[in-house]
Symmetry: C2
Subunit: 409 residues, 2 copies
């Protein structure tokens, strides 16, 4: 049957049915409420802005992804592609006299033109926050810690905040003596993961072998050893100061009690050009795209005539919903002879409205449990004769009776 | 100082600062929560729709007020001017198999192109609901009662729901034997309150004197005697069935306990052409424009191939905020010799975060109290030697001691 135009919605947009809308509202409200407790106050900016204001913030390259329209008065407007620029405009105008630091939050729809067929959304909801007027590592630590709490408040099971710094790449590119325009090219090649092209570009400009190696090693600079490795690879002073900033952040984030959820990843390249310091993304194993993204942008406000350091992030609400589908409340595995008890356990938990997946591939408990928790499951259960081994993130593994478990602890 | 383009926001849009955003969120959340308790479940539709889908719902005349844009694939899109059409599309497509009646709610930004200089918003937030699949008076009563509860939940002090019916005017125009195209002209003249033009049009078509009188009397058919007066003015059967429907609604709304907040107003003409039955608006004395509007639209869904009666309304969140400014928690008046006590009373209430306005024009208590409550003040207080007379909406006037009042009852 051929669908009529009026039966369809535009490419890259979505209808959300009641269950989905309830979950989206729960995510947005949960995150905003968490931000509110940290002192962030929500502001609202128009969905439509003057094109000039948006291009001033996003840069003209990002302007290509804007939905533009000309109103009947001949003014060129655009739908906002994110809200940091609008908040910067608000801070530089109506909030110019407000005492700093300013802690602001926001929630709303944003719009980006994308090629059809990429499956990417052209309209989606964001909820985020900005800490304006503080250039300290303390401010960065607050924002990263709040990002962790925001994903917790959003009900995301297991996730990681990957933490990088745009100064690391910039320091390497400066050290490699690449002329300014080629630095953007190199960054674009890295963003596209075109390492062959990157090597060719570097060699064309006679970059030294150590710099070529450091740049090509960038994608591997992730995880607990990343900072040591980065220190070893690059001795330029710009790079060393980035490394010591990240080490300082680690100490603060340990004090916030959130370091377990954070990992260093020096390969992060964000899609807006206004970042000047740390950049970070929230990931969950179930999803190939970030649930949140943010970083420090110390020069955005000066484009609006209000020079002030700033840092912030935004949560992609619809991606949190996509990640949900992969996160059952429990994954149930069993040992030989435990099948009947395991199925009874799953049935009982489902009757209590839990989403329960039973292991059907006969894999080893260690593998099942590790994957389940990495994908955000609430807990992994191993049913044995008479007892159930319960593994949850951040808790000691324990054994309970089947009865205890299904009675609802 | 000349403002740069980037320092401005487009005509008819607004930034909301933290206090305003908090109140807007409180209004939207309060209304949605009330709707949820009545069984309405929130859905989300895209801000951008195909122009064809919107014109199908709004009619091509309303199409002139749409913000249109052509995306890079050549598709003509528009920003939704309201959400009833989008919900109808959703019901006719993804919810086609859902059991009726369907109770749906929504909240989001809508966009209407308006001439500059009219001071009217081009982007504003709406929160509303639709009851789909029930053509009964019971359904209309539920929607009107929920409209009353929604404005209460939004924290609007004093308000009135004006209740009319599009069939009344249509019946009069049919009775006057006006040809079909001239009926639209007559309705447009009424909408613009051009009674001279209306009389000329009717006389040009030799409408009988009784019909001319009934049509010209339309703006006066408001208040408790409106139904009796309507019954007397027009004896066409279409008109009589409208009058008996409204009388039936009155009985039901008394049973809901909300009739006190409702008044019949047969002069209401709504701005969308899809209404087929009752129409209503929520007003507060402080504001010249409706806080809420809605009605029955039994033929909108069939435009989307899913014939089904329906009724609903939408709250204008930003107008609720505008009305706020006119509604202090208390207005304080005093009798001779009571000034010092009155000012102490105002000071004590303000210290408890109440908004308190003191009467400074020396008007009589009756006038001060009536106006204060009509404008939505929480209560009017008359300070006398030793006691305070307290008048609140819907409660017996009572006297309390100054101490009781300021201690916080």
């Amino acid at each position: 049957m051929r669908l009529e135009r009026w039966q369809q919605i535009p490419t890259g947009t979505r209808d959300l049915l009641p269950g989905e809308t309830a979950r989206a509202r729960q995510v947005a409200t949960g995150v905003l409420e968490r931000m509110r407790r940290w002192g962030y106050r929500e502001v609202t900016t128009p969905t439509l802005e003057y094109l000039d204001a948006l291009v001033l913030g996003e840069g003209s390259a990002a302007g290509d992804a804007l939905f533009k329209l000309v109103d009947r008065g001949g003014e060129v407007l655009a739908l906002r592609p994110e809200m940091t620029t609008s908040v910067a405009r608000l801070v530089a105008t109506r909030l110019r006299a407000a005492p700093l630091p300013l802690r602001l939050a926001y929630a709303g729809q944003v719009f980006r033109w994308r090629e059809a067929g990429t499956g990417r959304l052209r309209e989606f909801p964001q909820v985020g926050c900005e800490l304006i007027g503080a250039g300290s590592l303390e401010a960065d630590a607050e924002i990263v810690a709040l990002a962790v709490e925001s994903l917790e408040a959003a009900g995301v099971g297991q996730f990681t905040i990957s933490l990088g710094h745009v100064g690391f790449l910039q320091g390497l590119l400066a050290g490699a003596r690449l002329p300014e325009p080629e630095r953007d090219d190199a960054q674009a090649l890295l963003y596209r993961k075109d390492f062959v092209g990157l090597r060719a570009l570097l060699e064309r400009h006679h970059a030294g072998a150590s710099h070529v190696n450091a740049l090509l090693a960038l994608p591997t600079l992730r995880g607990p050893a990343a900072l040591d490795e980065a220190r070893r690879l690059a001795d330029a002073p710009e790079v060393q100061s980035v490394v010591s900033d990240l080490a300082g952040l680690e100490r603060m984030l340990r004090a916030y009690g959130v370091w377990d959820a954070v990992t260093v990843d020096l390969s992060i390249i964000r899609d807006f050009d206004y970042y000047t310091g740390i950049v970070f993304e929230g990931h969950t194993a179930a999803l190939g795209v970030p649930l949140l993204g943010g970083g420090r942008y110390d020069r955005l406000l000066e484009r609006f005539g209000a020079s002030s350091p700033a840092t912030g992030f935004a949560v992609r609400v619809e991606r949190v919903l996509s990640a949900d589908a992969w996160a059952p409340d429990a994954v149930v595995a069993f040992e030989d002879g435990g099948r009947d008890a395991a199925l009874a356990c799953a049935r009982a938990l489902r009757a209590r409205d839990q989403i329960v997946a039973v292991e059907v591939q006969g894999r080893a408990w260690e593998e099942v449990a590790a994957e389940a928790l990495a994908r955000g499951a609430g807990r992994a259960l191993l049913v044995r004769a008479g007892t159930v081994v319960v593994r949850e993130r951040g808790r000691e593994e324990r054994a309970v009776s089947l009865e205890e478990l299904t009675r609802g602890e």
